[in-house]
Assembly symmetry: C2
Homo-oligomer: 199 residues x 2
């Protein structure tokens, strides 16, 4: 690739380390960054540096935040008596996008996984228990994934919280909306049948 000067080669290399960006795309992005007005390329570079400098975890719910307490935790319009427990930021974002939950979150920053050596002390379970103990929380909604680790983590947290006067719920599992029963896997269909509700 001697037809690119070293600075361009370096940029292509850096860009191709991003997930889903192959060498061809990295090349195209590098050419784009050379073509746009200088301030636009600079805005991207500064945005990267800025985010790394500013972003931390909310000291209450462990979501991303520029400040000590995040925007959701400090929003008086949200119902602080409900706490939704999720594995990571991505799951919190998915729930926010879906709408329908106006409480606060607790981002575990992981999920119990003995195989990978992740135990209760490696995720934010203790901090969740402390939030419940400090009072004000009436319901904890366990919204970890419905895979093995997610189910285990939900069960573990439910057990841990059983000593406190708090309602512990689990998001529903079942047939996705718009789903055709023929194409739903057996385990999901069995669960949907078991957890059927009276109309």
């Amino acid at each position: 690739m001697s037809y690119y000067p070293p600075s361009v080669l370096n940029l292509i290399q850096q860009l191709s380390r991003l997930p889903g960006i192959g060498e061809k795309t990295a090349e195209r992005l590098a050419m784009h960054l050379l073509r746009v007005p200088g301030r636009e390329a600079e805005a991207l570079a500064r945005g990267i540096l800025n985010v790394r400098e500013k972003v931390r975890l909310c000291s209450r719910c462990f979501a991303l935040s520029d400040t000590d307490i995040c925007g959701i935790c400090s929003n008086p319009a949200r119902d602080a008596s409900q706490v939704c427990v999720v594995e990571n930021i991505a799951e919190m974002v998915a729930i926010e996008r879906a709408g329908g939950f106006a409480g606060l979150y607790h981002v575990l920053q992981g999920v119990l996984s003995p195989m990978d050596g992740v135990g209760p002390d490696d995720i934010r379970v203790r901090e969740l228990v402390r939030r419940v103990r400090e009072g004000g929380v009436r319901e904890v909604v366990l919204a970890t994934g419905t895979h093995l680790e997610g189910e285990t983590t939900a069960a573990f947290i439910a057990e841990r919280l059983s000593a406190y006067p708090v309602r512990v719920s689990r998001i529903a599992s079942g047939v996705p909306l718009g789903g055709d029963l023929r194409y739903v896997d057996q385990v999901t269909l069995k669960r949907a049948m078991e957890t059927r509700h009276v109309l």
Copy 2:
């Protein structure tokens, strides 16, 4: 998107301005940049700033370069008597990748396009004529595209260079290798027939 702090929102916005990067991908990239070691994110940011600071156009051939004269122009192993004229960097890169040309380049930085108001003075034709006039060039290979503007530009340059003792050639047009004649468009097939060569 109040579930992201301002610094993250800003980064997502900057990333989604890149070509082919939608909002979902920008979000994924931003999360990645938050997760990787700090020096990796910083290397990308610095790479962007660095490329904008260092890269200029080679003062001889107008390819990208970190220095006044680019790597190809200053490479003594290349044949300075052959100059391949291309529209942009991308075409030069394509030819270099294909191999088979060991001369120098001349990047026009565009193509004649009266419809878009691009005339001979808007692309690097004058500089090409000067290179030829200064001597040392025995052949100019016109490798502009085979679309209307590319053909027009090639014809224009050939006319301009007719006053000089230099051989002016045009890259061949015809049936692509591995191509099935049934699927080649009529204009290409007609051209391939007209420019047939004796074996």
